[in-house]
Structures are given as structure tokens and as C-alpha cells.
Symmetry: D2
Subunit: 358 residues, 4 copies
């Protein structure tokens, strides 16, 4: 029942602080005899890594992952896989003069209130640095899912700027620093975010994650529902404030007729859905259609512009955060969201096999 673990059979436990010696995770329940080395994990970490463009934090971390257990001669053994990344560029001095102040919108105040102590250096445990281990776990999860199941993500809204879905091109996401699937929006986004960054402010974003090739039958009513587990996984990502699946909030305004994904017998005897308002999940169980979800990320709380706050002593103060931060944390949340989707699906694949033998 660890509070720093998720998953039921494919179980991920993360540990580590932003400015501690290292961060790591333990992956339990991984099936044996899966080919796995650091080379399977590192490319995903590189996608999430800080310092890759001027639109993300300039903190320099190589994020070089090491597998410390659970493999033998290049294959998984069925025993727990420990992954670890040494922290390198932890400039705690950046935070020194704010250590007794609570950054509005950040977890400083709640950690202090809950625990009566907090590691203020770089946000400590609350730092988005923790998401590196999610990405590493997701890479292993993808190996469990196999090549038939494909998980991809995209940034579909940057602050006030939305993409035109008519321009959607998955290939485009690899060609710009935003994972934006609408190539025509990229230029405007660059200017927009440069402006935000230079003004010392920040903005939020909306991320979309899609999984294709997911078989019919993953998930379980009522509290092991696939959508419930997916939304919890996404909501657990730093700065996420909303999650929706398929039509999502727009479903509220639909008629029963428009919302119903009608079915026809397909050419090959497979069922054919005429729409996907459900986002690939009905009754908490996958339909075999693409699983589609979106989540909203709030603006980075650490901003240069001063805000009113209080300090540890409860006195009024102002705070301005001068460390190296992402003007929009939503960008680096794309590979994190993909990883969480992969982890939840891997877990449910094993769960389904356990109960239904498939």
C-alpha cells in the first residue's frame, strides 16, 4: 500500500529528491525473459531530459540510467528491477534565499504543513525531477506491452494557443520542441513562449495521449476500471489539474444518440465502431479502439515575477523564484504522460491474463 508506488501487478515504486545524491525506482512483477538493457530506457529519458531546448529548464542533467538488478545476460529474470540516476547539476544555491518562504502554487506549504519538515532544495521530493523515473518505468512497460501496442503523446494546447486538429500529424511531433502535432502552429508557439519566458512568467498546457493496438478486455469494474486507473496515473503527474477520456467534458452536452458509438460487423468479422466518443473504454474495460485521453497542466509555479506569500514564521513576504525553470512544464509532461499510459496498460495486461487467461 506504499504511497510512492502505483500499479497492481506491474508495480512501480519511486524514490529520491531533486537535490539528493540520486533518484531511482523499483519495478516489480515484470515478466521474465524480456530482452532489456539501459539502451531500451535511455532514449525515453532523453526525450524528457532538461536542457534540450530554450523552452525547458536549463538545468544540465545527463539522466544516465543504470539497471542495478533484475536482469541477467540481457534479459529480465522476474525479480525486481532497480533503476537509478545520479543527480549531477543540483545548484541548491539558487534556492537559498527562498528556503523559508512558501512559493504560491507550489507544494512548499502543504509539505511543511503535513510533515512539519521539508527538503526545500529544488522542491525536494515534490520536484518534477521524480518524473524521470516514471519515464524509465514506462520504457520497461513498453517492453511488456510488445510492439502491437503503441503509445504516443502530443501537446495540443500551449497556454491560450490550441492546435487545429485538422492538421494533426503524428510525425510532426518529433520535429519541434513542443511535441506539437500541428506543424503550422509551431512558429506561433515559439514566439508566444519566448514572450512568456522573457516576461518571467509561465503558462499551462494540454497534453493528449493515445494508445493504439490495445486489445478488447483490459480493465475491470468497478474500482479497477481502466479509465479510473489511467486518470489517477495522469492526475498524479506534477501540475496536472484535469483529465478526460474520449469526448470528456464535451460529452456532457451531447445527446445520447451522438454519444453512442455505433457498431457494425466489419469486413473481417471484427467489430467496427463508427465513432470513438468513449475514447476506447466502456464500463471501465477497453473496447479495442484507440484509447484517447487528455490532461491539463497548470502553469509552472516557480516564476520570476514576485508574488505575495508568507514565510515559515507565518509573516507576510514577497517571493520571486530565480532558479532555472520550465516556462511551460507541459512540454516535458508529454513523455511522462506516455510513460504513465504504458505503465497502466502493462499492469492491466497482466491483470487480465491472471483472471481471464488470455
Amino acid at each position: 500500500m506504499s504511497l510512492n508506488s502505483f500499479g497492481r501487478l506491474f508495480r512501480v515504486t519511486t524514490w529520491g529528491e531533486s537535490h539528493g545524491p540520486a533518484i531511482g525506482c523499483v519495478l516489480d512483477g515484470v515478466p521474465p525473459r524480456i530482452v532489456l538493457s539501459e539502451d531500451d530506457i535511455q532514449p525515453f529519458l532523453d526525450k524528457r531530459r532538461p536542457g534540450t531546448s530554450r523552452f525547458v529548464t536549463q538545468r544540465q542533467e545527463k539522466d544516465q540510467v543504470a539497471i542495478l538488478s533484475g536482469t541477467f545476460e540481457g534479459q529480465t529474470t522476474g525479480t525486481p528491477i532497480a533503476l537509478e540516476i545520479q543527480n549531477q547539476d543540483a545548484r541548491s544555491s539558487d534556492y537559498g534565499n527562498n528556503q523559508d518562504k512558501f512559493r504560491p502554487g507550489h507544494a512548499d506549504y502543504t509539505y511543511q504543513g503535513k510533515y512539519g519538515i521539508r527538503d526545500h532544495r529544488g522542491g525536494g521530493r515534490a520536484s518534477a525531477r521524480e518524473t524521470a523515473m516514471r519515464v524509465a518505468a514506462g520504457a520497461v512497460a513498453r517492453k511488456i506491452l510488445g510492439s502491437e501496442i503503441r503509445v504516443r503523446g502530443a501537446l495540443i494546447q500551449l497556454g491560450e494557443k490550441k492546435i487545429d486538429r485538422a492538421n494533426w500529424d503524428w510525425a510532426a511531433t518529433e520535429g519541434n520542441p513542443f511535441w506539437c502535432p500541428d506543424a503550422s502552429a509551431v512558429g506561433e508557439w515559439e514566439n508566444y513562449l519566448d514572450g512568456v519566458r522573457k516576461s518571467g512568467s509561465s503558462v499551462g498546457a494540454v497534453v493528449e495521449i493515445e494508445a493504439s493496438g490495445v486489445p478488447l478486455g483490459l480493465g475491470a469494474p468497478h474500482y479497477g476500471k481502466l479509465d479510473a486507473d489511467l486518470t489517477a496515473a495522469m492526475m498524479s503527474i506534477h501540475a496536472v489539474k484535469g483529465v478526460e477520456i474520449g469526448a470528456g467534458f464535451a460529452a456532457a452536452a451531447l445527446s445520447g444518440e451522438d454519444n453512442a458509438d455505433e457498431m457494425r460487423s466489419g469486413a473481417d468479422g471484427e467489430v467496427e465502431f463508427l465513432s470513438n466518443q468513449a475514447g476506447g473504454i466502456l464500463g471501465g474495460i477497453s473496447t479495442g479502439q484507440d484509447i484517447q485521453l487528455r490532461f491539463a497542466i497548470k502553469p509552472t509555479s516557480s516564476i520570476l515575477n514576485p508574488r505575495r506569500s508568507i514565510n515559515l514564521a507565518g509573516e507576510d513576504t514577497d517571493i520571486s523564484t530565480t532558479g532555472r525553470h520550465d516556462p511551460c512544464v507541459g512540454i516535458r509532461a508529454v513523455p511522462v504522460g506516455e510513460a504513465m499510459m504504458a505503465c497502466v496498460l502493462a499492469d492491466h495486461l497482466l491483470l487480465h491474463r491472471a483472471q481471464c487467461g488470455a
Copy 2:
């Protein structure tokens, strides 16, 4: 790791089908010496009960709850509390001619696909009848929370019709069949939903749940986050397609300045927040402000108007559902959402006491 359970220390397990002999739940982890009888639970069930207005299903169920264990002389004993409701008005004949067809938007197809068998009568386990036990569990959770913590819900959007938040009045929610907090909207809503109902269609809704009096410090990073648990709890409710907390999806378009809930030292030495974009949760931990979340409900899938579908044999067919259904399941989802909020908070209250001793 039961798939039909939720909660970590206050643990709810539900069982039962729409047309079986009974439905029930087991509540484990309830603290001892809490005054509890059926009279504490029944009023909440009466709020959710079918047949209370023309806007909800006309199925007649008294939903009379019985406590079968876990209390002694009117107090909880610390042992599991079993609650049970006998099913009464289960008109399985309503469903007879559709039993081999998959209702679009419903869980028929996925249950059959996952398990290779399904109880088609009234939706079986997938029926929203299961939510009666959530409401019963929520009533017990409220006793754990005590009178300081207050959980309330409202319907803020019915199909395309939204309330004017300027008119918000909690008292109004008790005076109309929608739990609508904007009295001025009720007349229009009645006409609108009458039209939907008479046309054999259905619509979705948006529900808002608020908890006040929640102490600072509930929740835990990273996978026991209060918002992650709340989101999963809401998403597990039948027909929910999206959940957001505080500013939610709107946070994506905010600036860092606008999103930050500034703090000042209050008159009594308590911290005073100048806004609540966070919806009462930062870093997965409650701030002491009101917890505010919303969830979107899709339109009822069982509609009179025929839709295209397939049958068990995989053949094309049409389906029209003539049973007694809610034209908008969102209405009865209000007490269900309240109950889920209460259950999650009760669980985290116990978790926090365990780790931090408060």
C-alpha cells in the same frame, strides 16, 4: 488488491448485480465507537433513490439498507460493517428482447469481450444500481469525517444548459429535482429535460463537489496524492468521462501569476489564501481551503431511439432500449459524487493520522 474495492485504510468493497437478489458492501477499517445505525445511512440513499421525480428512472426501489455486522448497541466495533439492500423491482422482462444485442455506449460489449459471459439483466454488474452502495459507504465516511468536514454537491450543467455561477446558492440545491444551485435555471432545465425525455433521447451533465473544513495535510506524494485518489474515485462512477480540480482544464490557459494562489498572514494567525485556483490541493496534499472538483457525465446510453449495433453472433442489428431509464444519469450522480468524496477524505484522514499522528 480487490478490483471491486477502493480505499487504503477505510476500505469499501461492493458486490451485486442489478437484477440479483441483493446488492451490498463491506466497509473495513472504520474506527470503533462511532454512533451508527441505519438511520444515519438511509437519508443519503433516499436522495439517490430511483423514482423520486419524473426526471429519473421510474424503477421502484425502496433501497432499504440493513447493517448486518460491525456495530454493537448502536456503535461501531472496529470490525467490518456489512451493508445490504434487497432488490425489489427488477423487471428483467424489459430487457428480454435485447439480451443478445450490444447497446452502443454501454458496457455490454466489453463485459462480453472480457469475460465471455455477462448478466444482461438490467446491465448486471455494470448497472448504476451499484452506486447505491457507494452512497451507503459515503454516509459512514461522513461519520468518520465528523461534523467539521462538510461535503456537498450540485449539478452545474445539464446537457447544453449551464448555471450562472453568480446565482450560486447551496440552499437551492435541496429545492429542485436536479440539485441545481441556480434557482433561476430550474424552470428552463425542467422544460429542456422534459423535451429530451419525451423525444426518447438523453443528455449528459457536469457535477461539482465541494468539501469544506478539510484540514491542511491530507494526501501524500506521489501515488497517494489526494487529487489522484479523488480523480480515480470520480472516474470510477458510471458514465463519468472527465474530472478536474480547482481551475481544472482552464488552468492550461492561465499565466503563472494568475494561477498562483497568493497567501497572506490572516487576522488570527492562520494563513489566508487570496484565491483557490488549486481547488484546495497542492502537491497532492490538502491546503486547508475548500476542495473543489467537477466531473462530466455522458448521456445515458440506454435510449429509446434505435441505434445501429451488432449482436452476440457478430451480425448487424438495430437496438432500441425500452426499459425505465434516467434521461440524465447526471442528476443521481450528485449524491454519488458526494459519497465518493467523503470516502476518499475519510481514508486520507486515517492515513494522515497513521503517518503523522495528527
Copy 3:
């Protein structure tokens, strides 16, 4: 993490008190499409039922089980199975004059100390009546295990009287009221236990449980070890004070040579073990040999002969228990031990399938 549940994938949750209206359990994770009706469960309950001989409690309970959910047209649906037994012969008056006294060796004192309240009627939740639901769960577990895996139990020691293992005959266990596998011991046991009963005393026992046909590979290092789960399951049975597997405590005095179960290549290419000191489990994983364990049951705590104790007020008192009790609870523990073995094996069968696909 329910305290009244066990199992990871095949999950059993029990509820109910000795003198409440009913007792019951919820079984979650059962695979779908298993043929199951009350007739599959009742015979096992009848084995454990009170009042079957003069050597067990004379309380009259028909222990008629009802399946309230989770099956459809005689097969499991994959949804939770609720089982329930109405309590009938609850003579609370038997206990009236002792309700404020703590029976030595019983849970009265610890329940009161922990919870500050207890249902004193017939031991409340602490009553061995709870084991009826374990037996019912075990019957369902056997259906999951299939006919290849056979679970049997026997009483091998009654008070000071041990069987002669040279006389072991499984068939004999069905022919006497003790489940004794040594027919030659039965006469002496009858005289012995009659004496114990008439003297108002009680004795303990040792039970042996064996599972044959268990495939190689069930269990998992280190905290999902099959032997660790089996031990916990047995120790959770009322009055159990010790559990051992294979050579058990005798292994301490063995040499490494004698303890090692040597292996040879068998005629059919299967491995052949030359002994089974391990009791069928090595490194927490089943070897494919018979799984053999034993557990010790202490004497019934409720005895006629007066013992010194204290009361709720903390004052010295004497207590003599006049209710209808088993002179040796170990007898009825045989079917309970079998059931717990079946439940743990069913759980690990599903777990193994999940991770290793077999």
C-alpha cells in the same frame, strides 16, 4: 489493504459476528465461466458444521449458504461473488453473566483493549464461526484449482495422543469424527476426548494439510513466497499457535545431507525427488512435489472449570464458561485448514499466470 481480507488476486473478504443476523464473504478475482452453484459449496460447510458429533459444539446451525452475486445461469461472471449464511441458533443468554469478564486465553481482553468496545455475544467477531466463510471460499478456490490439484487434511495429534504415521490412510479420515488418518487410534481418541469433555476441560491438536498435483513454479520471492502466504493463512485461523512446512522444526536438527532433497531424472523425463523434506516448496516456490504443512491448535479457551480473571472494571473475578463449546477446536479446524490451503494456491495460480503466462 483491508484487514479482513486475504489473497492478492483471488481475494477473500469476510464479515459478520457470531450472534449477528448473518455472516458472509465477498470473493473477488474469480475467473469467469466456472460452473458454480451452492451445491459446490455446501458439502464443505457440512464438514465443518457444528453439532455433527458429540465431540464438537452442540450449537445447531444449518449453515445454509446462498450465492447473492457473481454468477449467471450457473457460471461465474468474473464479478464479485457474495456468499451469505443466516445465523440461526444464537443463544446469547448463555453468555449473559460473563459479559463483563475476560475469558483467559480468549480475545475478550484484547478486543476491549484495542477498540474500547466489543460484541461479547458468543465472542462476536472473534468467534470461530467466522471460519465457515473460509470454508465456503475454499470451495470456490477448489473450482479455480481444477481437479488436478487435490487438497486434503487430517488430524494427526489430539491433545497428547499422536497417530502412528505408519498407519496413514487418507480414506480413514472420512470414517471417524476426528478426520484421523490412523484408524487404529480412533477408539483411544474417543475415550480420551470423552474424558476431557466430561471433566469440563479441553485440549489442543495438530492438523496436517497436503496439496498434491500443484505445478512447479507457484510462489514468488521474497514477500510473495508461497510458504509465507500459507503460513500467514494458517496462523490466521482461530487458536493456531504454530505452523511448519515439510520437515518443519525437525529440520533444525538435520544435517545438510539429510535435508537436501536429491533429484534424479525420472523415467518420463520428469524430475524425480528422492525425498520431500522441503514440503514441496524451495525458495518460496513450489517444486511440483506434494505441499505438506502442519499447524498446532491450542485448547479451546472456553472451559467449564473456573479460571482467575478480571472484569471490565479491572477487578479480580473468577470465570467459568457454560456455553456450548468444542472440547477440541482442532477437529473442525481440519476443513478450515484445507480451505485456506485451497485459497492460497488459487491465488498463486492466478499470480503465476499473470507474470509468467503459464
Copy 4:
């Protein structure tokens, strides 16, 4: 539900292989603001460390533990504590010529059978080296328990040699290489084990663990019973084949009168027990008396004397293990048993606080 984790609120997850780069664990749920550094943990690891006498393995490991997360300025922060030990003296060459053979009594055969792959080097994950992390976890658990609760262990049987309990002296356990509480037995034990060692054989042992100062009320019926959790914890230790609490297996032969721990009102108003057959636990809940349990350890499976076995190809072979092994693994199991007791008690202390607020 991780298979390599135990505990409910104080949650221990271990990872690592005997000959991998490192071993480690993650401790979740630790209360905040506990003073903790490596100096609190290292002394316990030193007790378990290999190479401390001629009676334990001569493998040279400094077992220097590092805290990688979860503390700040010398105190716990409430976030997960990662502990790690680098492996140093891993002489894989010792094992080379046996890598395709299954050592009788060892987990080689079952790991291979379950996973279809195994890390044969030093036993891989099955190595007792894993217990170093249990000892480290136990050191942290002791900090949670506080100074009032004291956990101690002793070796009470070495092969065929038992102590005379009349000579029990806790202080003696620190003065000999066996943790033997009977100083008069030590000389004979030395000669005996020298003989065993020189003959290339091994023997088993019995360990006793005691916890004093445990408050009334820890544990919970029926599947969160303190004794069930304790026995599972002990049975999960490498080579353990039996566990008993209080009178244990001897309880089977007791009369109800002798087994009942009578109570009297003590001088200070506290209850006074006149005996402790229960070993400090009734109905799964601590009585406030000393908790006393024993577990049996089988002889080391890796012995010099050749045994018959098969190899990976299923062919008959002989095997003789020439690596550096303990002639009696029971000796080093004493600090491991203490650690497991401390971990289980810490977990139940938090659980009790959660439900009962004490």
C-alpha cells in the same frame, strides 16, 4: 501488491542480487521528523555481516549502507527512504562449474522452473544476501518503535544441541559468536560446529525473538492479525521451515486450564498475567505481555559433500558446492529475525494509530 514488498503502512521493498552491483531497499510510510542517519543502521548490519567469525561465511563484505533519499538535515521527511549497499566481494568464479546444476534444497530448480531463467551467480535473488536489507529496514523500524519497545533475539538450538532455558541470560548473547543466551553451552557448540564445518556438512537451528514493551492493542482480526503477519515475516526469511508463537506446537498437548493465561488486577491497577502461553497475542491482537516467537532454520543447502542432482538438460549429475558458505545460516538469522519483528511491529503501530487514534 508488490511481491518484493511487505508491510501495510511501513512498507519495505527490497531489490538486488548476490552478485549484482548493489542491493537496496525502499522504506515508505516512515513518519516525519525522526532523527536518522547511517549511524543508526550500520551497527545492525555489522551484527549480520559475513566474515565476523569462523562460523559464518568468509565472504568479505563491508556492507556499508548509504541513505539516498528521505532524510533532510538528519531527520526523516516522510518521503521514501532509499537504502543501498554496494556489493564488493562477489567471487562468481566459485560458482562457475555448478551453474548448470541444481543444488538440492536450494531455490535453483524452482527459479528455473518458474521463470525459465535464473541468475546462478551466488544464488542471485535467492541469496541470503537479501537479508541485509531487512536488517537495515529493521533499524529504521526500531526508530519508529521508540525506546520503550525492545526487540531481541537468541539462538536456542544449534543442530541437535539445545540450550538449557534455566541458564537464559540476554547479556550472554552479545558475548559469543552464536547469539546463544546460555553461556554454558557455548563451548560445546563451538566444538560441534567446528566438526560440522570441517566435515563439509551443515546444520539447522532454532531462533527465538522477543519484543517487550509492546502496548496492548496492536493487530487486527482476521487477516491483519499480528501473529499472522509475524509468522509470514519470519517464514519469508531464507531457510525458515517453521514458526511458532508462545507455547507454539506444545500448546497442542496442553489442557485448557494450563493454556489459559490467568489474569489478576495488578498493584498499580494494570492487569497482571500469571503466565504467557499466548506469547503476547490473543485473537491476533497484542496483550501487552512480551511477544515471543521461535522459528526453525533448515541446514545450509550449499554443502561440500556431493549430492545427487540433475542439470539444466535434465540429466543426472552430482553436485558439490565449494563456495564460501555458512555452516549454519541460523546464526546470522538472529539479527534478521529481530529486524522482521521490528518491521512488523512498526507497521502495526501505525495501523493501530490510524484506526484507533492511539
